[in-house]
Amino acid sequence: MDEVRLIEVKEDIRADNEKKADGLRSQLKAEKTLLMNLMSSPGAGKTTLLMKSIGMIKDEIKVGVMEADIDSKVDAEKMVAQGIPAIQLRTGGFCHLDANMVEQGLGAMDVKGLDLIIIENVGNLVCPAEFDTGAVLNAMLLSVPEGDDKPLKYPLMFSICDVLIVTKTDYLSLSDFDMEAVKERAKKLNSNIKIFEISAKSGDGLEAWTDWLKNEVLTFVK
């Protein structure tokens, strides 16, 4: 019988992805384009939030959108119909975007002249948190109907995000959602997280969020 021997591998399986993501970050820094990765559950309202937010900042900031879905191109079509430059990435069953897919997406976009590119990641609170897309800003959208227990169930997502936007606050009166509990739980996982409460439908709180985003972009592209 052949002898069993030990081979040292010493490789992180995400090392390739992280290298590529760092490369994208330096490339976009040089091109003065801020890449933001927006993540949420399916149906939280990413597309609606983006359409409203971009409408409010587009006179000052040139924005492009990279839509990612397992299938269909409805989201990109909605953006383009509003005059927002957008491309659709179909992940073909993959539950998240990685730096490779983002690189391909950037290749298909006219990046020059854009101040901000927003990735609308696949709706999912697990996998997108694990894979670096090359974004400088990671944002998470949580909608009131999903419940206030999400930081307890998906701690990694909350711990990697720079900003948390709690949306559909127009549902608060109909639900037992505890806003203070969400904030406390998110801050415990990530003391630096910036939190906004908004309703994309009524427009409540949108300005504070878009002002913050505008400021982040203007500081970055300086």
Partner: protein, 116 residues
């Protein structure tokens, strides 16, 4: 679903090391997976068994060691371990600072493998 792309990557790395080392069969693989990763050991093995069929790694057993979440305190420079599931406020045990960066806990590291 999440386990599939991760497991594919693990298999790619194993197979490339096996080719470089004239391996006939991979017996077991030692992995370190961070506590923050939502992977189920059982499912990684299921996916692996499926993906590794007809490869040098067919039938290999994955031995998974969980890596605790460790933060580096930006206040005093000490490192401290965190139990994320406890949902207690994360702060440095040494200086009480809440300014910290993640050192480990997100890992997907292939340590070594036993081969024939």
């Amino acid at each position: 679903m999440h386990e599939l792309p991760v497991t594919e990557k693990i298999l790619d790395i194993i197979v490339s090391h096996a080719q470089r080392n004239n391996v006939q069969k991979v017996v077991s693989v030692n992995l370190r997976v961070g506590e923050l990763s939502d992977l189920e050991n059982e499912w990684i093995q299921h996916y692996f068994d499926y993906l590794a069929k007809d490869s040098v790694a067919e039938g290999a057993k994955l031995v998974i060691e969980r890596v605790p979440v460790v933060m580096h305190c930006n206040g005093c420079g000490e490192s401290f371990q965190v139990d994320v599931k406890a949902m207690k406020e994360i702060q440095c045990g040494n200086c009480d600072s809440k300014d910290y960066t993640l050192v480990s806990g997100k890992d997907y590291y292939i340590k070594d493998m036993e081969v024939i």
